[in-house]
């Protein structure tokens, strides 16, 4: 144990301080220390945001109906917020109600097997048992509403049409997937780094409940 401490000190020591200097400091900016060179982060995907890019390859989740995001969001260019409409009104983005699906799909593509399956559920008056893909621990408080506000609605550079880019910050290139897959680590480090870079609130109790 003693050794462990020492080793940890020795290895991370120098790097640790300056790395920390980069990622951990209160809202007020500090002049980047010499070490920050190799920690330079590329500017964000679009103006008004810096994003720590942390690729992560989530596993493919078995869903009752493997919903083709690529068709809807990708090919048909349907806005994310059209279906996930709760995201801008509530903390949780939620799954769109089945009625929304049926809104289109009692006319469109009714012959496809997936739509058939969906219709069955609808008739039975049940909702498909979706599985949660982007899941945060229960002691974490995250509100979609305010993040959208910050990055989309209050961001002069952005327009609602480009909402998918904002969603992509944390959800990855969903429009290229069928069933959604995790593409960001969504660890505390991920959150804090982004908060620090974009002057988000920086206080434990802000995100921990």
């Amino acid at each position: 144990m003693v050794l462990a401490v020492i080793v940890v000190f020795a290895v991370f020591g120098a790097a640790g301080t300056s790395f920390a200097d980069e990622i951990m400091s209160t809202g007020k900016k500090s002049e980047p220390s010499a070490w920050s060179k190799w920690l330079e982060r590329p500017p964000g995907p679009f103006p008004g945001v810096i994003l720590p890019d942390e690729p992560y390859d989530g596993k493919v989740v078995e869903q009752p109906i493997d919903f083709p995001h690529d068709v809807h969001a990708g090919a048909n260019q349907i806005n994310c917020l059209y279906c996930h409409t709760y995201a801008r009104r509530s903390a949780v983005a939620g799954i769109p109600p089945t009625s929304k699906c049926m809104g289109c799909h009692n006319i469109i593509a009714t012959d496809r097997p997936r739509i058939k399956k969906l219709t069955e559920y609808w008739e039975k008056g049940e909702s498909p048992p979706w599985k949660k893909v982007h899941d945060l621990p229960d002691y974490v408080r995250f509100t979609h509403e305010l993040h959208l506000k910050r990055f989309l609605f209050d961001n002069p550079e952005m327009s609602v049409e480009r909402s998918d880019e904002v969603c992509a910050l944390c959800h990855g290139e969903v429009k290229k997937m069928t069933v959604a897959r995790k593409q960001k680590t969504l660890t505390m480090g991920f959150c804090t780094r982004c908060h620090e870079a974009n002057d988000g609130p920086f206080d434990c109790m802000e995100c921990h409940k």
Binding site: S18, S30, Y139, R141, D203, C204, M205, E206, H208, K209
Partner: protein, 283 residues
């Protein structure tokens, strides 16, 4: 030179905090006033707290072991014969005295510096934050709390305390604490956060009365007043002002020392953010 920077920054803030009470750069400073003359000791606040904060019901055996968890506990003391003469009578001549005790959210909290992992820390709103999932259960904070207002999960109460369907009542805004975690009154911080978000959404500042703590909301005699001490329009600030209770200074120079406002154990300089108004009794 991060060390120096940190030292200088912190020291200047600290030095300021001496004369400005340690909350000069806060956005809010949540405080409370409890009028002991109005408090009837009816326990409503305590039960409301249970309902709001997912507090576990431990049952008789554990209660007997002193492992109960009243974040908000109404304490009852029998009068000492200080008023109404010293003579010992066969029966009471006055009622009892009640006091609702919640975490005093000290401005110089003894619980914070001793937490080895900073699970207990001071939020920029002047609260004593308790990050449940950071807590490792060393229990030093409770050992060092003069008010004994922190409670420890000695067991895992989830199954025993909320047998289905009782668990459907659990408040989603608050974690259900598992064994080995210290917990305490948070001034209903989830309500604060919800109100903040709402204000933020409407691009306005948080106003007094945007939200209430559970105990304040239910108190049948409105003995509990809660609000932002820095907001000069807030009722709580005006009360503090009226009773000349000052935060961030060890001694209270009141022009009129007879005023009712006082804080518990002021002399150990924990600077609690809860002001109690003395109980009044006819003699």
């Amino acid at each position: 030179m991060s060390l120096v920077r940190n030292f200088i920054e912190n020291w200047s803030r600290y030095a300021k905090s001496i004369d400005e009470g340690g909350f000069h750069e806060y956005k809010h400073m949540w405080g409370m006033v409890v009028d002991l003359d109005k408090c009837t000791g009816c326990n409503a606040c305590s039960v409301a707290c249970y309902a709001e904060n997912n507090i576990a019901v431990v049952g008789e055996d554990y209660f007997a072991h002193g492992q109960a968890m009243h974040w908000m506990r109404v304490e009852r003391y029998w009068d000492e014969p200080d008023i109404g003469g010293k003579r010992i009578t066969e029966t009471q001549e006055h009622g009892a005295s009640f006091i609702p005790m919640m975490c005093q959210q000290c401005n110089a909290a003894p619980c914070e510096p001793v937490c080895p992992v900073s699970a207990a820390y001071h939020t920029p709103d002047g609260l004593n934050g308790q990050v449940y999932n950071r807590c490792i259960g060393s229990r030093y904070c409770e050992v060092n709390c003069p008010y004994r207002m922190r409670y420890f999960n000695f067991y895992s109460y989830y199954e025993t305390s909320w047998p289905s369907p009782l668990n459907m009542q659990l408040n989603p805004d608050i974690t259900v604490r598992d064994k080995g975690v210290m917990e305490k009154c948070t001034f209903c911080i989830h309500r604060i956060k919800a109100a903040k978000d709402k204000a933020n959404k409407e691009n306005r500042k948080l106003a007094d009365g945007d939200f209430q703590t559970a105990c304040q909301q239910t108190c049948p005699t409105s003995a509990i007043v809660f609000g932002d001490l820095l907001d000069h329009d807030s009722e709580v600030h005006q009360l503090w002002h009226k009773y000349q209770t000052k935060l961030g200074t060890p001694r209270q120079e009141k022009e009129n020392p007879e005023l009712r406002g006082y804080r518990i154990y002021e002399h150990i300089n924990t600077e609690p953010c809860v002001t109690y108004l003395e109980r009044v009794r006819e003699v």
